[in-house]
Symmetry: C2
Amino acid sequence: MRTMNDRGSKDAKRPLRRAHVVRLMHYYHLLREWIGRGNGDTVSSSQIAEWLELDDTLVRKDLAAIGVRGCPRIGYAAAEVIDAIHKNLGFEDQHRAIVVGAGRLGGAIAAYPGFARYGLTIVGIVDNDPDKLGQDIAEHRVLPLDALPDLVRERQVDVVILTLPAEAAQDAADRAVTAGIRAIWSFAPTSISVPPEVKVRHEHLSTGFAELAYHLKQTSPEGK
Amino acid sequence: MRTMNDRGSKDAKRPLRRAHVVRLMHYYHLLREWIGRGNGDTVSSSQIAEWLELDDTLVRKDLAAIGVRGCPRIGYAAAEVIDAIHKNLGFEDQHRAIVVGAGRLGGAIAAYPGFARYGLTIVGIVDNDPDKLGQDIAEHRVLPLDALPDLVRERQVDVVILTLPAEAAQDAADRAVTAGIRAIWSFAPTSISVPPEVKVRHEHLSTGFAELAYHLKQTSPEGK
DNA sequence: TAGATTGTTAATCGATTAACAATC
DNA sequence: TAGATTGTTAATCGATTAACAATC
């Protein structure tokens, strides 16, 4: 039996599933734009649902899952929702990352200022191509890949961002794991194996394009 | 009642759902690496399932959904599976894309040779920054954003790849839509609105990082 | 108050998994 | 043949949606 007092017991929160995290990020972006455009301070679940083409009950359940309470007749305080998502997804925790691979993609990531909002700071960039060493990318001097273990320790790095070609990714991941990082964000077009305690998030750009290609095929007039 | 003859009736195939497409891409990558490493010609659903930590029945259903038949006791012909995925996902159809935004990310995408495998060819790159005009990126001369409509027609472009800052993305998308493209692949850190007949695939890098951040929070020793 | 909106339980839906017969 | 593996139906599970009471 549930009682009204359950309301406050945030310890009982169950971990969010992947689908929750993805939708919460959509709400987060949506509400930040909403507030940025100078709209009201409150927003209803049905407004969010309509913009994102979801069911409004789903929105309310997602918000309940991160402990946000709305007001009947009023809706949710947009700033409070943004805050709660920020906290629940772990953006208040600070993470320090090294970009491995000083190509264009590595440079784009190292230079992007938007990650700071999510608690992510790029603290270095390494590459194993001697031609790249010593260049400055987004105010980071490119250092040799061999320096990775030392950098991880000295700069208290817990995330490594891989932007290497497929054939170099596994070796770099191995070094990063040995050096003690806990998470790998990989943009390399291949899979990598790591011990179970290390989390890998793979950005499969080709999978993203596959969805587009499949849609185009389904909707193309010449059929089949 | 089903009969053996249903085997050949590919017209009855139902459209693949998103989860199917994503898993099929995993199988595709896995089997290409598998063959590349000189393993056998055949592979069983339980092998694939084990590598990807899925249920083997799920793998068989996915393969059945694209019309691949296996052999009892033998498994599936890896090359045939790769082929079927390639065809079903629409990689045989050729698409021509223009990259909008000549920054580091745009350059990385324009220069990446791997998209050719999926039927995607980059045929131009545009930017609205006068300083970028005339530069060559990956053998493409950077042209003004104003030239987009003409380029779309002349070069038979059906996909636009947005790599612009958030504030410029909607305007560029509008121009692309007016010029008649059918799909937008956006890397801009914002949402864009388009008419229903245009497909948008958004690569939310921050959502990718959010999953990592949440995992780190859940597994961090200091708890909470 | 009346009515809009939340919060929550119950129902539905779809996707995954289990079981097992078919088959090579 | 015996046995491994597929293909498919049935069962389960979880996520979404519907219904509706609670509430401000």
